[in-house]
Symmetry: C2
Amino acid sequence: MTDVSALMLDMGRRARAAADALRATTPDARTNALTRIAKGLRAAEAEILAANARDIENARASGLSEALIDRLALTPARVEGMAVAVETIAAQPDPVGAEMARWTPANGLDIARVRTPIGVLGVIYESRPNVTADAAALCIRSGNAAILRCGSDCLESSRAIAAVVAPAVAEAGLPADAIQLVPVPDREAVGAILSGLGGAIDLIIPRGGKSLVARVQAEAKAPVLGHLEGLCHTYLDAAADLDVARRVVVNAKMRRVSVCGATETLLVDRAAAERLLPAVAADLIKAGCELRGDAETRALIPEAAEAVAADWTTEYLAPILSMKIVDGVQGAVDHIRAYGSGHTEAIITTDAEAAERFANGVDSAVVLINASTQFADGGEFGFGGEIGISTSKLHARGPVGAEQLTTYKYVVRGQGQTRP
Amino acid sequence: MTDVSALMLDMGRRARAAADALRATTPDARTNALTRIAKGLRAAEAEILAANARDIENARASGLSEALIDRLALTPARVEGMAVAVETIAAQPDPVGAEMARWTPANGLDIARVRTPIGVLGVIYESRPNVTADAAALCIRSGNAAILRCGSDCLESSRAIAAVVAPAVAEAGLPADAIQLVPVPDREAVGAILSGLGGAIDLIIPRGGKSLVARVQAEAKAPVLGHLEGLCHTYLDAAADLDVARRVVVNAKMRRVSVCGATETLLVDRAAAERLLPAVAADLIKAGCELRGDAETRALIPEAAEAVAADWTTEYLAPILSMKIVDGVQGAVDHIRAYGSGHTEAIITTDAEAAERFANGVDSAVVLINASTQFADGGEFGFGGEIGISTSKLHARGPVGAEQLTTYKYVVRGQGQTRP
């Protein structure tokens, strides 16, 4: 056994013991830990920034692109942002122990379905140091133990953040091993987590690009909650309000082009294309968006390039939008069924019946009516944060906050009943 | 490509199309289909029994054990039982479209979490023909399309049942391919379902013995909901009522020894062993149960054989019970954490605080207080039936009825909101 695999197995054992001990902790103790973490992040700003400077120096030395270095870089404002995020999660209701349902069937038993932590989560992410604080906070709020494995590029920053988390957790009376950061950069650690650490890991959460998530889904021996991609659509219905269409489409595509909730394909009802598309396209072009369309949209928008088959299946994550004319709600639903990734879709319409048909027909985690697809976000949903957006159909769909990191058990109270 | 794999891929395509069409059906139509199936089963009793007689003849010819033949055999009463089960499921509330939560965060969006079908379920089971009717009914109630693969020993009976289901489904206005039975006995069909049929299958549900479930979990390329085993414990606390202990333990072990909710290990608080164990053990012996115990229990119960290490990890499914003295609730929780399968555990106590500590400390799908572990059953929980009992921690835990065969989506209603 290598040193790294021995280290990881030991982390797994300690996480399992911490998960068991966490069951005996109170919501107040968990809130207390979160408050201490937020305070600690502010107090350790200098140490965190110094560690981050070392990460950035190493990243420059190893030739990382400036875009990746920007993702990695912390500032006083970003450290404050992490503290605020932890405080927001601290202010969320604690999900553990909540009664989801309670009833008494004919046998007279008192049956309660009660939220419980999942157990041990393995979180694998890339070079965003803030995820270390976010993931720790969501796991504490949901009563789970966690093994965090950050990208090697942000290990120094993550260590500095973990050095705040560990004493805060212990001082609040939670098990010291509740949140563990893998302290070494070796890629072998990822493989170890994917192996499930001898059954110690209940759920693996990859947070990062498509290639990371695809590797995790292919190799993991434990269940995985993650999203592969956000190939999101906005559909302009015949009954769309033009102003709403203009406002929402530009926001859905251009607010931030690199997020998974950004619209990648615009579908337009043939019945309203002439009325809606020219103004919407002009706004997009003005905002710096490159347009690609099928023959019918190009007849209306000469500036659009020709869309090829790959355009319907590409998550651009860039200021590019594909456009297609479809036949009403059913045409939009059919296109989304064929090409969508089950993440987020929107319809713009003043026709309530069309909106319901779209919401019912589209099998995606989030369906929006007259709003931007960029609202697909745990913070916007009021979750205080998110560990990702699930495109899996099982367990949790859409933004994953603390509540979605729980499972349930049945607690059944009897008076000596036996089954006939 | 072989004929069987081509057949299976075609079934997958048709199931996917049926799942899409099912989204447009109403709860009433689904209830109507279920009512027609129940009526159809009664009307086709003669055909079903004749088909079953052919299965039994083939089973005898191929040397199947009488126990397995009994499991396979149908009688007029068992056909009536199937019809009643379908009617019970028809009487359950339809879960599809139910609003699980609805709220408006600061951004003013109206967010609803709505139950939706999962999509296409692949159900793989053994030689119990009634599962064909049960699984079909639960899938219809939950709006899912299903591919049912029965054990080859009950193919004739299952075909006769499927011949009732198909017209009932179509006459109620549901897609004809909503419920498909694999019409050939080839084992290759199981492998095809495990492959996910080119992405057509959203969830695989194995219903059968440990070896079937283990194979499915090891090989499946789609998510699996199943239980490996039910290594259930009953714990007699220091504050247990003797009468309740006697009544419940005998029921938990001996009512039916072959069900997954049967108690396999009895844990007894050292503080009350002398008071409780002799009478409980005498009842068990009288009921025909073989006892195996650790040294301390054998000192009290001389009839007990010596329990070896394997006794704590064995799901007997037989009239055998292992017994162990533990130190209070924590001792019981520790034993269950080490050896339990996460299925069902019970505590017998009059001490409410001890009961809560046990319920909180034990991380199993079902925890009972003063009741028999044999209540771990969808029917007893009021679900109208079950497709199995999940020991997975994700998605659904415990008895899986129609509601547990759904997922959810977010339907978000706005008035043109854009994200800042």
